[in-house]
């Protein structure tokens, strides 16, 4: 043991150490699925491993339900659909490679997927260069803008502009001071931009804007500045585990006693991971919450289908994206009578669908799904009726094109 030279040992171990640290969170999971020649093949790259793994698995489970229901109903004149799930490991290069493989090797007819504002853009680069239809199911404003948009690009997820506008409308008032703690990558930047635009219209202002490193484990060093700025509201704009950790530590510092905590997207799985006490009273937006079934028939149908397929479990917010995107794609293919990309694009552009959350449609000029935004509040533990009774629906902001930026602003021809 003592025979090694200490310096060479430590250098070598150092470089290996950094590599390992980067690699440990990312574990390969081979997903074997053989494509059949005559089936409708939908590629589904999502980050099954990594910090968004819980959300990604829900996306896969919901998308598989959509395919199963389509096939059980006879498919497209007997032609069955097939979902080819791949792990993009929350890495842009990996996402591009998997997408390229899906297109070149598996000959998919369309791609649905991605769960990161940055990685969907990488996926979109590949699909648009190959002329393959892509429905993104992760929040992004950039994907609707002229630089990244293409006629093959559809966006089923909410975008930061409409989400933040809806949340701000319910949580902010004229004269309020807002502190922002946002993840320093595309998601955090787009959410911050959306909130600032919305607060300007309302008459609220920023007290402080802090960008934190993506995937930070400790937020304690950001909190003294936020508390010192004495805001009325703290807006935490990050995703996945970052959301649970940031809110947990803010509560630890007593932040929730001094200001209201809001988030652009109130995540089902992170609320589960952090517990009701930590999230109590936090307000945020969502594309879907299972409790919608009390007033929306299609939500009830979706929930029941999901419960039957998954032993009574309920679908989650990001899971619903997988369902609505795949179902809408298959509906459009049915209308188009096949998988011809041009015909399916035309069908999607005129499609009116209500499959989980009320009426939806893709706006023709930028292919953004026009849909409702839910405003949710995390429930106090004592008023929860079951362990899935997480949120109270404060409001449902109905879908309308007025929630979106105009296509002139996006730089797109109308």
């Amino acid at each position: 043991m003592a025979s090694y030279d200490s310096r060479t040992l430590s250098r070598r171990q150092l470089s290996a150490g950094l590599g390992a640290a980067a690699g440990l969170g990312v574990i390969a999971m081979p997903w074997v699925a053989r494509a059949q020649a005559d089936s409708i093949r939908i590629g589904f790259p999502i980050p099954l491993t990594g910090p968004f793994g819980a959300e990604a698995k829900d996306q896969a489970r919901s998308a598989e339900l959509a395919v199963k229901q389509f096939n059980d109903a006879g498919g497209l004149n007997g032609r069955k659909a097939e979902l080819l799930v791949r792990d993009d490991k929350l890495n842009a290069g990996e996402a591009a490679t998997r997408t390229l493989e899906l297109i070149e090797k598996d000959k998919v007819h369309a791609v649905v997927g991605a769960l990161s504002a940055a990685i969907q853009l990488a996926t979109n680069e590949v699909t648009r260069a190959r002329g393959v239809l892509y429905i993104s199911i992760s929040q992004s404003d950039a994907i609707n803008e002229v630089k990244d948009f293409s006629r093959f690009t559809f966006h089923e997820a909410l975008n930061p502009h409409m989400t933040t506008a809806a949340v701000a409308k319910h949580a902010l008032k004229k004269g309020m001071k807002v502190a922002y703690l946002c993840a320093d990558y595309a998601y955090g930047h787009e959410m911050l931009r959306g909130f600032k635009r919305a607060q300007a219209a309302i008459g609220a202002e920023s007290a402080i804007e802090l960008m934190h490193p993506f995937g930070a484990s400790d937020y304690s060093t950001f909190l003294p500045r936020i508390i010192a700025a004495k805001p009325d509201v703290l807006s935490v704009c990050n995703f996945g585990r970052d959301q649970a950790n940031a809110i947990k530590q803010a509560v630890e510092f007593g932040v929730n006693q001094q200001m209201k905590i809001i988030v652009p997207v109130l995540l089902h799985n992170q609320r589960l991971a952090a517990g009701p006490d930590v999230f109590e009273g936090v307000v945020g937006g969502a594309n879907y919450y299972w409790g919608l079934e009390d007033g929306v028939p299609s939500a009830k149908t979706f929930n029941d289908g999901f419960r039957a397929a998954h032993g009574g479990a309920i679908p989650t917010d990001y899971g619903a994206y997988g369902y609505t995107a795949v179902r809408s794609l298959l509906q459009a293919m049915t209308t188009a009578g096949g998988t011809d990309t041009d015909k399916v694009i035309a069908a999607l552009e005129t499609l009116k669908y209500d499959i989980a959350k009320g009426p939806q449609s893709y706006r023709k000029c930028d292919h953004q799904s026009v849909q409702s935004v839910l405003i949710l509040e995390s429930k106090k533990k004592s008023v929860m009726k079951s362990e899935n009774d997480l949120f109270r629906i404060l409001a449902i902001e109905p879908g309308s094109e007025s929630m979106l930026r105009s296509c002139v602003e996006l730089g797109l021809p109308i």
Partner: protein, 291 residues
């Protein structure tokens, strides 16, 4: 920028430093005494947190978790040393690296299978919830307790290493294992015990961190990187170095957050790069000692 804020920021840095010391200590012990670079450190930290959760759910007591989880995971550490690490002594340094690297994957996947991928809430013990008024600001009671617990562990470790016969043997064994063997000391048993203690302390770090971070299978991956930075900055094989480096890294990260928050994480790696350029053996590392 007022003085109160800077004071608060410094205190946050010290508290973060205490957490970093706690997360790095097990890594530094195993490396310093056995020269085994334990790449399963992050995973064992996570296993410690899950073990703590398991105990809390059954006993309802955080204190039992603080005691039992490190003991259980430490015993598991003994098993790892005996079955996996021991056959690799005397082989190139890459071998234990590869082995523990793989072990880390196995542990993470194992926890995913048993406890699910989602992560589980780990509540702060009710007695330690809340903030304390320090005159210049409010600080979470739990973090103050963590500083205290870490200080206590360091004192106990220091006493054990410097003031006991066992500590004398451990230090001598780290410096020259062959000589110790010639003198009739069962060096294998010694390494077994030291490894077990290192893993137990790693698990204790996991239990202490759990109320601040929630518990998830991937919670250890960043811990491995942090432990590495602290150990390298402090000096390979120097326990005192790990303590100073932990505090230094905590304060650097905290003050960076004050001026350039988005640089908070990168600042610790920048610090490590600078230290390696100026003092490749680390701040308190003595070339040849303990390695």
């Amino acid at each position: 920028m007022d003085a109160q804020l800077v004071l608060m920021q410094l205190l946050s840095g010290v508290a973060l430093g205490a957490v970093l010391i706690m997360t790095a200590l097990g890594f530094a012990i195993v490396f310093g005494m056995l020269t085994v670079v334990n790449f399963a450190h992050g995973a064992l930290f996570m296993v410690g947190a899950y073990a703590g959760l398991f105990v809390v759910e059954r006993t309802g007591s955080f204190w039992w978790a603080l005691l039992l989880a490190p003991l259980a995971v430490g015993a598991f550490g003994l098993l790892i040393e005996r079955m996996l690490i021991r056959p690799l002594y005397g082989r190139p340094a890459d071998d234990p690296i590869l082995l523990t690297f793989g072990l880390g994957y196995v542990l993470i996947e194992g926890v995913r299978l048993v406890f699910g991928t989602q992560g589980i809430p780990f509540a702060t013990p009710p007695a330690l919830v809340g903030v304390v008024n320090l005159g210049f600001g409010f600080f979470p009671l739990y973090r103050l307790v963590v500083i205290g617990v870490v200080a206590l562990i360091l004192v106990v470790l220091w006493l054990a290493l410097e003031k006991t016969k066992f500590g004398l043997i451990v230090r001598a064994g780290a410096r020259d294992p062959q000589m110790m063997q010639v003198l009739g000391v069962d060096i294998r048993r010694l390494w077994l015990i030291v490894f077990g203690i290192g893993i137990g302390i790693t698990a204790l770090g996991g239990v202490l961190a759990a109320p601040m971070r929630n518990v998830s299978p991937e919670m250890g991956s960043i811990v491995l990187a942090e432990a590495f930075v602290v150990t390298v900055v402090g000096g390979m094989g120097s326990l005192f170095g790990a303590v100073v480096a932990g505090l230094l890294v905590g304060i650097v990260v905290s003050l960076t957050s004050l001026f350039a928050p988005e640089m908070a994480t990168i600042s610790m790696f920048a610090l490590m790069a600078i230290v390696l350029l100026v003092r490749p053996e680390g701040l308190f590392g003595k070339p040849g000692l303990g390695v």
